[in-house]
Symmetry: D2
Amino acid sequence: MLIVMEKGATAEQVRCVTDRIKALGFKPHPIPGAERLAIGITGNHGPLDPAEFEIIPGVLQAIRVTKPYKLVSREVKAADTVVEVGGRPVGGRRVTVIAGPCAVESEAQILTIAARVKEAGADLFRAGAFKPRTSPYSFQGLGLAGLKILARARDETGLPIVTEAVDEESMAMVEDYADAAQVGARNMQNFSLLKRAGKSKVPIFLKRGMSATLDEFLMAAEYIMSEGNFGVFLCERGVRTFADHTRNTLDLPIVPAVKHLSHLPILVDPSHGTGRREMVLPLSRAAIAVGADGIMVEVHHEPEKALSDGPQAILPEQFTELMRQIRGMAGLVGREHEDAQAPGPPPQSQS
Amino acid sequence: MLIVMEKGATAEQVRCVTDRIKALGFKPHPIPGAERLAIGITGNHGPLDPAEFEIIPGVLQAIRVTKPYKLVSREVKAADTVVEVGGRPVGGRRVTVIAGPCAVESEAQILTIAARVKEAGADLFRAGAFKPRTSPYSFQGLGLAGLKILARARDETGLPIVTEAVDEESMAMVEDYADAAQVGARNMQNFSLLKRAGKSKVPIFLKRGMSATLDEFLMAAEYIMSEGNFGVFLCERGVRTFADHTRNTLDLPIVPAVKHLSHLPILVDPSHGTGRREMVLPLSRAAIAVGADGIMVEVHHEPEKALSDGPQAILPEQFTELMRQIRGMAGLVGREHEDAQAPGPPPQSQS
Amino acid sequence: MLIVMEKGATAEQVRCVTDRIKALGFKPHPIPGAERLAIGITGNHGPLDPAEFEIIPGVLQAIRVTKPYKLVSREVKAADTVVEVGGRPVGGRRVTVIAGPCAVESEAQILTIAARVKEAGADLFRAGAFKPRTSPYSFQGLGLAGLKILARARDETGLPIVTEAVDEESMAMVEDYADAAQVGARNMQNFSLLKRAGKSKVPIFLKRGMSATLDEFLMAAEYIMSEGNFGVFLCERGVRTFADHTRNTLDLPIVPAVKHLSHLPILVDPSHGTGRREMVLPLSRAAIAVGADGIMVEVHHEPEKALSDGPQAILPEQFTELMRQIRGMAGLVGREHEDAQAPGPPPQSQS
Amino acid sequence: MLIVMEKGATAEQVRCVTDRIKALGFKPHPIPGAERLAIGITGNHGPLDPAEFEIIPGVLQAIRVTKPYKLVSREVKAADTVVEVGGRPVGGRRVTVIAGPCAVESEAQILTIAARVKEAGADLFRAGAFKPRTSPYSFQGLGLAGLKILARARDETGLPIVTEAVDEESMAMVEDYADAAQVGARNMQNFSLLKRAGKSKVPIFLKRGMSATLDEFLMAAEYIMSEGNFGVFLCERGVRTFADHTRNTLDLPIVPAVKHLSHLPILVDPSHGTGRREMVLPLSRAAIAVGADGIMVEVHHEPEKALSDGPQAILPEQFTELMRQIRGMAGLVGREHEDAQAPGPPPQSQS
């Protein structure tokens, strides 16, 4: 923490600041300047609140020098984290592709799509049984019945399941049926849910909030890890800006920014991030090119009948082409995504 | 809903759209244009999803014409709603002032501040027993013990209590001890909490999310009302933008925009909305001037010792001056805020 | 400037930084910390570029402590500036109201509206002869002919004229015919125009850019003042955000923020700031309530025939009511706006 | 244009709207609905202004159905435009790389860097002789002397030159010395400069404004083309949002959005777009992956001595590696960037 005093700060005001620093058990370091005096603080082991100093008369600004997170930080753990989801690695050298429809609508729909994305080479299957919808009058998901359908899809395809939990009650069900639980963008600062996720027995797929800064995003992960669950993988899914050519503005530069600060894997969701089907393929390529550990893509065999988010879902045949391009892209950036259909280790050995 | 076809859309594509409209039980109205064909839809009683049409080949855009909310709408209820909080009206001709510290820290702190704001003329008392904090390592509130302190403050001052609930568990406690429950900005789209709030026995004070559009804000209120709780009052508290001279950008124009579309009361929180003590007074004046039904202001007698948000809290003597100016301002815009200390009708007659 | 070193920065890297500071003629002040080393810099008389240090290996961040502006700053000039426009003061105790249509359309239109706003008590008349329009196919203004019409309106009403210049050529004409030249939001960082404005013989009315930070806004004023023109008055006119209930988001908190840092007058334009006629009155009240030195309002007697921005113009009779409310509001905040129609000092004595 | 009437609109109000439509020479198409009446308009050959209708009593909203641009539109010209810059194609199958320092600082600096980027395979050379700087006290560029140095660099390397013009005067000089003129982000809505660019004898490199929507960006290009200069190529360079981990938020999804609507080439500038050197390589890869026609990258051999934007410049050896990766990426997306060092056609035959 660095305290910058106002131009005409009195000796009395300066002493008030240094006294407060000492009272907190830290050490003040006055730095006289041509125009202003600044006071450095050392000896604190955790972050200080600028507020504590900015309210003292004569203080212009208190500048935080140390980042507020610990467990998510690369300073604490230098090596990339690999999270195991149903036996499959997320993070590390391999690129992960999560695919499936927005919502569980019926068993037939889920089994059809799961078979298609498995065939094309997806690693994990996704579909929502609990749907956070802007309107109370929109389809809210099948709930427990949906989770049972997802479990059936895993039995048939071998693909581990990632699905969203929206509160403590649904989290308890999701961890019983799925291989990873998603905390959605709207709940990124639902701290009660984050704490519950921190006690979950499954890994957590944490999506960035619509107006979350990088620090807030990492602090949400810190909440989960601070409760003991270290299986956290992140997802950029677009932020809210003035731009109106996409539903959200997909912020790809956050991928290298997260990788610089944190050891956690980060994926990109170009489906929600753009809200437009024709953008899913180019932005999926760009996500891998920028260094993401994978993508999450919405796939539906009958998007015109989808109960939610149909316009952003791609068709299974488009997904097959996407997988082909993702594999080429992965190779180019020193990553890999072997063909799931390739001979060699049988599927069950992967999980 | 209006469907706009692409420039070279074929007759086949147009028929596909009109067939789908008929299949849904509605009536298509083709409008031939010089460059493009548009198709109006009538007969729907609720909103349609543009997605359902935008995915049909040949469709350029589907434009929603009707707003998605009902119960919050002035079209459904023309007269301004007045919500009763602990016997005091929120909304209507009278301006409401909610005041108190950010968090419950101790009984002495709460009783001191409650007495001061009561004396200055506040209508409702606020302080958080459950605090949603960005960092898991920050002070998280006193919980149930804090609620009991708040109840004691009500006993001593007669001021009804507004305090935040952050999940179902805390909502159950809040409705037992407080007169209104706040749903905070970070939980504005925590739909599970909104549904629970809709079943609460106390009115709900709903704060706008940091990047919520007007429609999303009203839909969050609709969630609560759709569960049967019609006692909802809203609060603008700043949104997230690029501007860095305040912590958030206080969006005062949303006040007349809400009043135009909805019958619900809307207050303004200049403390969180700016994050700076010296801005609380001018923005409080501006809030009343723009037509808000009241303000919520953070007051602390020792802000330099506050456990959270100290720099935005004003001192009790500043609050007294603020109340004086608010009363003048209220008169100027055809509202009122009689002096709570004035002789005349005893307190109980207000409820 | 404060340089924060990375956690594992070597002694060699630290020396590299201190050597560079000395090479620039300044003095380094190392501040050892528990986790990191920071280095304060003193002796610089102007701002340093963080860039110069952030590129040195081992440096985590360089934090600017001193603000980059001088002439606009209250540290340089503590007293509020009052700008004279055609003999009328802008800034100081009196609230200023600038009114008129968006564009000069015809002599009849201008003379009609000028007479009406004069009668209602406006201080300055505005209308654009040069119109910056998003589309090259939209009405671009009458140019010199428009300026001559404006001069005629001044002759008839006595109201000084404020009108926009969009380039060097139009600036030369505007300063010949008008009493103040406006630099519009889209040109706030057109530095060639700002420099030219700095050599103008008339005061400059500088509008905030659509995504300008407070610092950028003040630096644009600094550009003008650094060329010798100290007659600058500012205008908040809304910024671009995700919010869609108004055309722009009117950022009223920037008014006290500017007043804190700068001695220049600042007005508010609720017409462009909201883009909606029904919001002009409430936001005008709020602008005065928050402490603005005045407002600029679009008035048109036939808004449905206006060649630009008709939906945000208010009618002359609405303007009369607005003036009535503004006068009440001014009194409440210790400002004034005497009735221009009042008997007493003749118009020329005001200048 | 579609006019939506308010719920309780009277027959009189509806007639007022249809009369106005007829008066304008167009045809009204009333579409009765369950809740509201809508009126379609046909017969207009250019765009209408929603304002013209929204001010009529009883009208809720006027919705524009046709886009406002023509010459930039793919509806007018379906095939991709290829712009010739100094004999080199921009757009089409080949990926273009523009490289060089932020500013011309000296002849030695320019000749050194130009030789290095030429050697690595750059297509065009860039450096600013006229610098738009936020502060009037920052280095403003060498002006004409800088242009002469750039011309010398072209003579030595054969690389065509792209450099910024900031006003009419500098545009006249730039078109005499350079092969393409850049209109910078801060001038994207400097319509006088755009019109002047439309009369320039060289192609224009138009950068997106910091808060420009897609429509505004394309309309700025339309301004240039409407004056007769069809040689326009675009550049995404980041927009202003709340996100603080990069200097701007690079909006890669605008690339496919522009390609969908327009035939003009679009490049990406990851240097200004992120403001951070370590992000230039990953975002350059992502730009090609998303479908951009090229990139513009800042390169400096001594970034720690650069007079502007040093922290975002990469070193020549990093640029060589970037070129290697860009070539691989280009091949993967069906584009190409042959090695400039390859034997075969001599350099002069390319221009």
